[in-house]
Amino acid sequence: MRIMATLRMALRALRRNKLRSTLTALGIIIGVGAVIAMVGIGNGAKSQVEAQIASLGQNVILVFAGNWSSSGARSGWGGAGTMTVDDAEAIAREVPGVIAVSPEIRDRQQILANGLNWNTQILGEGPEYLDIREWPLEDGAMFTEQDVRGTAKVCVIGKTIITQLFPNEDPIGKIVIIRNIPFKILGVLTPKGLSVMNTDQDDVIIIPYTSEMKRVTKRTNINSIIVQSSSPKTSDAVQRDMTDLLRQRHRIVPGHDDDFTIRGQQEIADAATATTRIMTVLLGSIASVSLIVGGIGIMNIMLVSVTERTREIGIRMAVGAHGRDILLQFLIEAITLSSLGGVIGITMGVGSAKLLSAMAGWPTLISISSVVLAFFFSAAVGVFFGFYPARKASRLDPIDALRYE
């Protein structure tokens, strides 16, 4: 029997019961639409997090001063206070595959300028910091190695600082006062938006780490070291070598815990995307349940249809239809129903995802693969739930079927 003729037959049978077909397809429409929209929202959140991770820079490895414990009492992160600028220099010097290093000291200070004040994050960094983080300047220039050596009173500032302290003003060359020390503004950073932790990355002032240590905080240790490896492949080796080097430098005997923590970008990304991945799976599986419910609706209607059309089946068999012809006919009917529902559902799902991102401002991302997958899944629902009714139809006895009232 020809597929085209069967398809025409299926479409005609579905047209005959327009309301019924529509309601049955509605189950699939809602199911597929929900899956598409939910996965779109989940993926949107995931891609947002991934973009934030990427804003960290390329092949970045972070070395944090770790916690330290003594007689069972444990300090928090950075509490060890054992990380020094020498450690950072040693890493740059001795670990192969490292292309850039920046020691980092974090601090919060009240700053003054223009008669306004603002509490912000002060970052003491090396001159390569912006290159590592792939964070270009919007205007001006970054401080240099010479500034670092000379503990220069210079800084670059984030966009938020401008809004708070220099509204309607070009801040380059102006002075901002940090802890009674005037710092000259050399450059303005391009806005970076929210970080993985949802903090404003533009609410920041970056100064040479030497200036931070000697002038502002008067500290001798640093919080962390930002390291860039030459490629993702060398990342593991670099992490291993750094661990060995730091253990050796900090004189940690085997069997004792590290007093530092090394985290590669991949690990940070994995941790950050884990939540959104779980959310995607959760939303998707809840939506899938409605797709299965839609499938049961199809099965239900197909069973009714087989019973209603028992005589028709009998006639077809009497004039020579094989069991598989009947099977195919009803199966194609079910698949047509579910894949039509799938196509409409995809449209609705994409539409509602767009609507959600427009109205609620949620990022949504609908990939071609999820659309294709949804389509084939809805067709598969038709096959799965249509098979039993179709097989039932194909196994009818023609004599009984012809006599059926």
Partner: protein
């Protein structure tokens, strides 16, 4: 004349729970090409079971059945379906047309299940030709509910003819029709038979059976009488008689 249907000691037993029903018990029968046979009998005589067996809808429990020299007694479901498609045409009491489907498409139905591939155009041509034979070519796109009972039965006959079957099987073809339409339908059968088509018909009406050439009477699952019809009715004459009778009624009032 070549034998089209040959039954050898055919039995059919149904098992319904504990009881065994011997519907057909030992029928031996030959029907030659070009015959027009009526199988008659009261209900329960086994004539419907015989019809199902001859129509390859059912298999005998015992004995052998040759249709067009093919032993069909042991074929499986699909093989029987193929035989029905190629060798048999069915006409039922209740017409059994597909509703909301045009007459032409109803006639085309058996062609959908034919395995030697013909193009859609050839299919259509054959279906139109079959409708022409029964005189309904002008109603090709009518749906069954737009046709009278007699016309519906003629569409069913066209459907039975479309695959040029070896035998046309009719199961109480006039059971749902009034006298006049019955005679008209029998006229179609007689015309087809005159053109050489073998027809086997089940009926319980004697006057309908008298349009055929041979009457087989069954009782309790066996053939009790098998005779050639001596005083055969002809549809043309009968229709004329009916008309005259109607006019007589009109004149007398």
């Amino acid at each position: 004349m070549a034998t089209v249907i040959k039954l050898e000691n055919v039995h059919k037993t149904y098992h319904t729970g504990e009881v065994e029903v011997l519907a057909v018990r030992g029928v031996t029968l030959e029907i030659a090409k070009g015959e027009f046979v009526a199988i008659m009998g009261a209900s329960g005589s086994g004539k419907s079971t015989m019809m199902n067996i001859i129509g390859c809808l059912d298999r005998p429990t015992e004995g052998r059945y040759f249709l067009d020299d093919i032993d069909v007694s042991h074929l499986d479901r699909d093989e029987l379906a193929a035989i029905r498609n190629k060798k048999l045409g069915f006409v039922f009491q209740g017409f059994n047309l597909l509703s909301r489907t045009s007459a032409l498409e109803n006639v085309e139905l058996p062609l959908l299940y034919t395995h030697d591939h013909v193009t859609a155009a050839v299919q259509r041509e054959r279906a139109v030709h079959a409708l022409q034979i029964v005189g309904l070519a002008d109603r090709a796109d009518h749906h069954p509910n737009q046709l009278s009972g007699g016309q519906q039965q003629r569409v069913a006959i066209a459907r039975a003819l479309v695959n040029s079957p070896a035998v046309l099987l009719a199961d109480e073809p006039t059971g749902n029709l009034d006298t006049r339409t019955s005679v008209e339908v029998m006229g179609v059968f007689q015309k087809l038979n005159d053109e050489g088509i073998t027809i086997v018909m089940v009926t319980h009406e004697l006057d309908i059976a008298s349009f055929t050439k041979r009457n087989i009477i069954m009782r309790d699952g066996v053939v009790v009488n098998d005779t050639q019809v001596e005083r055969r009715s002809f549809a043309e004459t009968e229709l004329r008689n009916l008309q005259q009778a109607q006019q007589a009624v009109k004149l007398s009032t």
